[in-house]
Amino acid sequence: MKKLLVQNLKKLDFIVFSIYLILIVFSVVNIYSASYHEFSNLYIKQIIFVIISLLTVLVTTFMFNYRWLSSISFYLYVVGIALLVLVKFFGTTILGAKRWINLGFFQLQPSEVMKVVMIIFSANYIASSKLPFGIRDFFKLMLFVLLPFFLIYSQPDLGSGVMIVIPVLVMVFLAKFSLRYILVFALTFIVISPFVWSHLKDYQKNRILAILNPESDPKGTAYHIIQSKIAIGSGMLTGKGYLQGSQSKYYFLPEQHTDFIFASIGEEWGFIVSALLVTLYLVLSLRILFIGKETKENFGKFLCYGVASLLLFQAFINIAMNLAIAPVVGVPLPFLSYGGTALITFSFMIGLVLNIYYINQKETFQFYTQENEDY
């Protein structure tokens, strides 16, 4: 029994798992701080979400086989789209955006679910296509990507929409999609982007403009950015101390427990911890990327690529936004921002990666033992 446990634990990827643990514990600590002055019980909800998430990870790692997903990926996609359509009709509107379905005990955010569904679907799609990835397959896949993109974009939630597309592009890139085409698309994008600009909503334009010149419209959108800069900057080397962040505590910093949690961490914990946090995201993502590289079987490989790129981009864009070098697009920080759906789906992705590692280790191991017995 003990031997079995040790054997199983040996097949657990410790880098991914321990970084994951650090992040979710840190999330409760900081959401407690960010909602401290509102006498809110958000942190209790977060503790419940964290427990559910941890169970999700353990179950997915040890009692699951990611390959099951391959056969049902299309149905998952259909369900994901159905949820997005549902939110259009029955969604709860918060601050002008319709993003949540109220389940009574829980506000389900279908766009978060769609992120993982899209990665599973695309991984299966690429794995079952001929590699290197061809242009026809690319266009077909893009149709499947653009449908959820526009559904989410119209909520309106540009940030999550972009987060649906980016992992797929990275996966396609790693599937050896012709560089010539990539170049052509990049050029086309540069040419048409002025037209896209003219179709952006005013508040979206303002947010992008606010980056370029924060003083132009301070209360509207740059307010977030200026306050976020002050919060982070005033943290200095070691921070003001836990629960001592005046920026966040006096309501200068808006959305401090969701999109701007990094700023409140920067204020209270300072440069050392903040830099460490950025590093943790980098290490976590790169480790997942390498697990993917070492996975022989394509579905698992591309799943890892997708998860790694989603994690890295979402974390980096959120942090860049907090540091006032990216537009405020409303992308939460994985694991740390408050939000049950996002935490659980990201945990499920971590579980998947660990499961991929686990299953492939087991198979390699069995393969070797069999060989040994032969000799």
């Binding site: 002055h37 601050l95 002008g96 990275v170 890139f173 790693l174 050896k176 560089l179 003083e215 301070p218 209360k219 509207g220 200026i226 306050q227 800069k229 002050i230 919060a231 982070i232 900057g233 005033s234 943290g235 200095m236 080397l237 005046s246 920026q247 505590k249 006096y250 309501y251 200068f252 920067g266 204020e267 300072g270 440069f271 903040s274 830099a275 950025v278 590093t279 980098l282 993502s285 790169l286 990327l289 590289k293 790129s309 890295l312 980096f316 942090i319 860049a320 540091l323 070098i325």
Partner: protein, 597 residues
Amino acid sequence: MRFNRFSFLIFLALIIYMILIGRLFYLQIVKGEYYREISNRNYIKVFYSNPPRGKIYDRNGVLLAYDVPTFDLIAFPYIVRENYKIQELKSILKQLFDIDLDPKNEEVIQKNLLPKITIKKNLSQKDVENFYNYNYLLKGFYLEVVPKRIYTPEANYLPHIIGYVGFPTKEEVEKNPDITLNTLVGKAGVEKIYDNLLRGKAGQKAVLVDAFGRQKRVLWEKDPEKGNDIYLSIDIRLQKIVYEEFKRSGHKSGAVVLVDPNSYQILAALSYPTYDLQKFYEGFKPEEWKALTEDKYRPLLDKVFNGRYPPGSIYKPLVSIAALEEGVITPDTKIASGPEFRIGNYRYRNWNKLGCGYINVAQALEMSCDTFYYQVGLKLGVDDIYKYTKLFGIGEKLNPDIEKKEAIVPNREWKRKVLKQGWFFGDTVNLSIGQGYLSITPFDATKIVVPIANGGKVLKPNILSGYYDNKKQMFVKTIPEVVRNLKIKSWNLDTVKYGMYLVVYGPHGTAKALRNVPVRNAGKTGTAQVYTYSRGKKHAKWELRDHAWFIDFAPYDNPQVAGVVFIEHGESGGSVAAPLMASILRRAYKEGVFEIK
């Protein structure tokens, strides 16, 4: 070296990582002192300034509503707590403003729970003087200007039309960047309808304040934009006459609307009884509020637009036009109209037991002959009556901004849907004298008389004569809009007008009271049955008495005013509603509101 996609991605990730770490280093280490300074000792404060809301005038520039500033005493707890011991603070507040700090605010200040709190609302003149005189004693306090709406005594003649203002909810403020929690927004009446014109835009000023709450540097500023002044189409002189005459008549409940039939601008609109507008806005005492809401004459209900009542005989001019236009009768067609009319076993009586004799349509209007209209209505049929009612704009909101309820206009489909019954002949008979299921607002009654007075044009009603656009620096006038032209044949229209003339001047006319108006005019009485067996009998119970109606236009040849008097349970159009209209018009001409040409 071959291009390795995997390494390329890792390279890309490392670059972004370096940028983020670099930026973090720049903000926290290089500029750390600077930002710590801002966040520790200097705070950014955003002050909002609310521009005055636009004034409301009547059509001749008589002021009805305007703003005055009031002052609230505001404190920043995080500054206050660093400068005072709590006892010291209490004694200062007590001495300067006679304020006993309430325990909740005390807790907020001591524990620094909120960024800013209101210590006292609506400071007196002396408080404000003290604030400025003893400014050096006050650290972390400032005065916030909060606008207050003042309604002039004239506005009390039309409280339902003016409506009221209030402060917006948090959700509304989040949705609209131009308003703050201290912006007055319209909640009802023209205050609400024309809120966009009246409101203006709040200004913002963000300043760095130091640890004493003093403003150190303005970071950004957005000027407030003043709201536009609006001019109602109401003539307050006329409104006053209407109110006073209604009051003098001694009736308890009702509505009067007077309009210009050529532009369909509302000149006066009274829903009676009224209430005190200023008190309503500032909040009644509980017992006053209770009295208002439980009053059986319902002063809070805007009867002009929100009350629905059976119109009775004032509906007959409309039915007459339908019958004439559809060729069911000609102006000269005479019909024997006895004391009662039978379908099978059902008898439909005339209001006058003597009957009317052998008469044409103009005479039928004069005598308000029910049996005439029973027969015409049956020939015409419910579909055509319905069609013409709709053409006149009844059962439709000709101006959705100001009209609140649509009339209930029954037809076969309506009855099947609502009552799950078929349409009977008897229903048509009732409908042809404006009884049965038909139910209209007093304002709808003007829709009958306006097209008759102006030669057949259905216009868009308006209550705004114009507004002064601050941005364009010009007066924007409301231009009359024709919704549709009914193209009523002139001889038919003249016949109906003549019938309405006879109502006042004919030997059998039902509204002879109008003869003493200094101009020739024409009208139609209506006594609408409320309770089946009430006809002609005086009921002890007010709620069961008939409604009294009178519609009128004047002068007869070139109408400049048209309107309706409605007296809820007033019993008789001819002897109750018509005399009130007569006294209103007589005074209006006498006092020069209308000129006699």
